[in-house]
């Protein structure tokens, strides 16, 4: 058990495992700008961990500190139990894949991949075998004698991966590696990265600002905000059980009901809102707490077209404001009592889709399982888990 200061467990199931990377109260500033502010994290071996956040949130700085390209101002980073502050890059079990690939433009693909092995003073014959095997693995054997500028973006990406992987790192650090690729290629490379990570059994720490990429690839997502960890956990946990509004909005769309907690019972709370009483799933809250009840578009259910019948529990009457056809589904915006806005998506083939006409009144159900409570303000609620 090596959970640092007991604060953050990347995943519930990981707590029992040995953490490979332990980041302990790390701070880093550039001039007056604090890039990383007291971050503590423990990342498990063999996991695909994503550092997610907007540009300037410190995710790349944190990655570079793990890789030894930046030094923390204070705090420590341990990899496999060893403090790595004094390690030179060649002794670190980490290797970096850069955003722009950073291939050596004056060397062939082969020489690029061989470079790390040459620095390790491996015999030439052995290097040749390993480079050939690695290029085979990424499917670039016939490009061995090409220069990086003669390759496509996806091929350059594979060379960058091969160059890092051939040195057999325990941790691969990836800094927005797919940002420069177009959508189709990006999706294919995502799948390749994921299967590569599984087959090589290497820990990936992956930096991205794309929440779809983060949710789709990761075992663990660390959402960052202004140099701090806003929340870390499994993708489903981050998506369905966000710790605060920042996380909730960063990883997807939400509709919000403001309310006050009236009473609580095992994982559920009854809240009073301008639209009536609602039951919601919740982290530990106290009666009287001001909260936001949030719901993802796909959690909202259309209970009855017309909405003139008696409303049941967790329902509200709303009028269709706008309906946007998006092909597979329709994005519908409702306006409820007290100007509450509810967003939902409806499959365009669903029977109730026909009733969605702007101005139409409809009864919506917000199921208790899909309605989640987050604190209305920072520091006002015991459930706040960010450091």
């Amino acid at each position: 058990m090596t959970i640092v200061s007991g604060k953050i467990e990347p995943m519930g199931t990981m707590a029992a495992e040995q953490s490979l990377i332990e980041i302990d109260h790390v701070r880093k500033s550039f001039g007056v700008h604090t890039a990383i502010d007291e971050v503590s994290l423990a990342l498990g071996e063999g996991h695909f961990v994503t550092l997610l956040g907007p540009s300037g949130c410190g995710k790349t700085t944190l990655l570079r500190m793990i890789g030894g390209l930046e030094t923390p101002d204070s705090g420590s980073i341990r990899i496999a139990g060893m403090p790595v502050a004094s390690f030179s890059p060649i002794d670190r079990p980490t290797r970096m894949v850069f955003q722009s690939y950073a291939l050596f433009p004056h060397m062939t693909v082969e020489k690029n991949v061989a470079y790390g092995l040459q620095r390790r003073r491996m015999p030439d014959a052995e290097i040749k075998v390993k480079v050939a095997a690695q290029l085979e693995m990424v499917g670039l054997s016939e490009k061995a004698k090409s220069y990086p500028s003669e390759l496509s973006g996806g091929q350059q990406q594979r060379v960058a991966l091969a160059r890092a992987l051939v040195t057999k790192p325990r941790v691969l650090l990836l800094d927005e590696p797919l940002a420069a690729l177009d959508l189709k290629l990006r999706q294919r490379m995502q799948a390749e990265l994921k299967s590569l990570q599984r087959s090589a059994a290497i820990t990936f720490v992956y930096v991205t600002h794309d929440q779809h990429e983060a949710l789709g690839l990761s075992d663990c997502v660390v959402v960052m905000e202004k140099g701090r960890v806003a929340q870390s956990g499994a993708p489903a946990e981050i998506y369905h059980r966000p710790a605060n509004r920042y996380v909730a909005e960063f990883v997807g769309d939400i509709s919000v009901l403001d309310g006050t907690v009236r009473d609580t019972a095992d994982g559920h709370a009854r809240i009073e809102t301008p639209a009536g009483m609602f039951t919601a799933s919740s982290p530990p809250v106290q009666p009287g707490n001001k909260v936001h009840a949030i719901i993802r578009p796909e959690g909202v259910r259309i209970a009855a077209a017309g909405g003139d019948g008696t409303t049941g529990t967790n329902t509200l009457r709303a009028t269709v404001e706008t309906a946007t056809f998006r092909g597979a589904d329709m994005l519908v915006e409702f306006r409820g009592p007290a100007d509450i806005r509810i967003q939902t998506s409806i499959a365009s083939t669903a029977p109730e889709a026909a009733a969605i006409i702007p101005g139409q009144a409809i009864t919506l159900e917000l199921p208790a399982a899909a309605l989640w409570l987050i604190p209305a303000e920072r520091n006002s609620n015991a459930s706040e888990s960010s450091p």
């Binding site: 050596f104 004056h106 620095r119 040195t167």
Partner: protein, 265 residues
């Protein structure tokens, strides 16, 4: 409209021709007179001859001067390129504040009038009790040439992705290895180009040479001394040769610096 346009085009062409003529005519005159079969530079030309070139090749004084010039220029090129390139790399890696302070400081010798640089160097050599010789000339020329090298190499360095160096470091390269394996090959066009610039600068430098040389003369100072007896056709011949060499080197430097792309074999 079209007529006015045509007149405009013609005027511009004529004006351009005049300017070019003004710039190049003196050079043509030198070249022409170097082949003139006459002891005095005068038109019309008496006839064509190569004797002034032969006279140059027979002149002990001029050949020694040429050798001195080549020696000084070569040494200056090596020293200035080495110092300048390393300085540019070091500067690029230092903090913004250091750069802001150091960059103008390092280009001072380039901005200062050569006369002042020459006098300053002479003073310094006197203070250090250094015997004036070709060695002091080399030192002087290096001082003048280093800023140019820094300028050219820096221009190329800022265009390099710093992550390429980081990638090499990440793969286990030491600082020295990063310079040898990554930076120098990528900077090669700029380094070679600035080497040619340094050579050319030194080869026709007069003022600093004048102050820093002892008994030896370089080609420019020899020509300068010979001018006391008037412009002889010999001087025209030497000047023509110097001009051709310099132009070739300068064009080479430019081509080298322009070839920004990656070198392949």
């Amino acid at each position: 409209m079209t007529r006015e346009h045509r007149i405009g085009t013609f005027t511009l062409a004529a004006w351009t021709a005049l300017v070019v003529l003004f710039l190049l005519l003196p050079l043509f005159v030198i070249v022409a007179f170097s082949f003139n079969d006459s002891d005095f530079p005068s038109f019309p030309m008496r006839g064509l001859t190569l004797k002034w070139y032969w006279r140059f090749l027979e002149s002990e004084e001029l050949l020694t001067a040429l050798w001195n010039s080549a020696l000084v220029a070569f040494a200056t090129m090596i020293l200035a390129t080495t110092f300048g390139t390393l300085a540019a790399i070091g500067l690029a890696r230092s903090g913004a504040r250091t750069q802001k302070f150091m960059r103008p400081l390092l280009s001072t010798p380039m901005m200062t009038p050569r006369l002042v640089v020459g006098i300053a160097l002479l003073n310094m050599f006197n203070l250090l009790s250094m015997q004036l010789s070709l060695l002091t000339v080399i030192v002087g020329h290096t001082v003048v040439a280093v800023p140019y090298v820094i300028l050219v190499v820096t221009a190329r360095l800022v265009g390099l992705d710093p992550r390429i160096e980081e990638a090499a470091t990440d793969l286990g390269a030491t600082r020295t290895r990063v310079i040898i394996d990554i930076l120098l090959p990528l900077l090669r066009p700029a380094v070679l180009g600035s080497a040619l610039i340094a050579f050319t600068l030194s080869f026709d430098e007069v003022v600093v040479t004048f102050f820093t040389t002892g008994t030896e003369n370089t080609l420019p100072t020899t020509i300068w001394a010979m001018l006391r007896y008037g412009i002889t056709p010999e001087i025209n011949a030497v000047s023509t040769l110097t001009m051709i060499a310099t132009v070739v080197l300068a064009l080479g430097a430019e081509a080298m610096i322009r070839s920004g792309g990656v070198h392949r074999r």
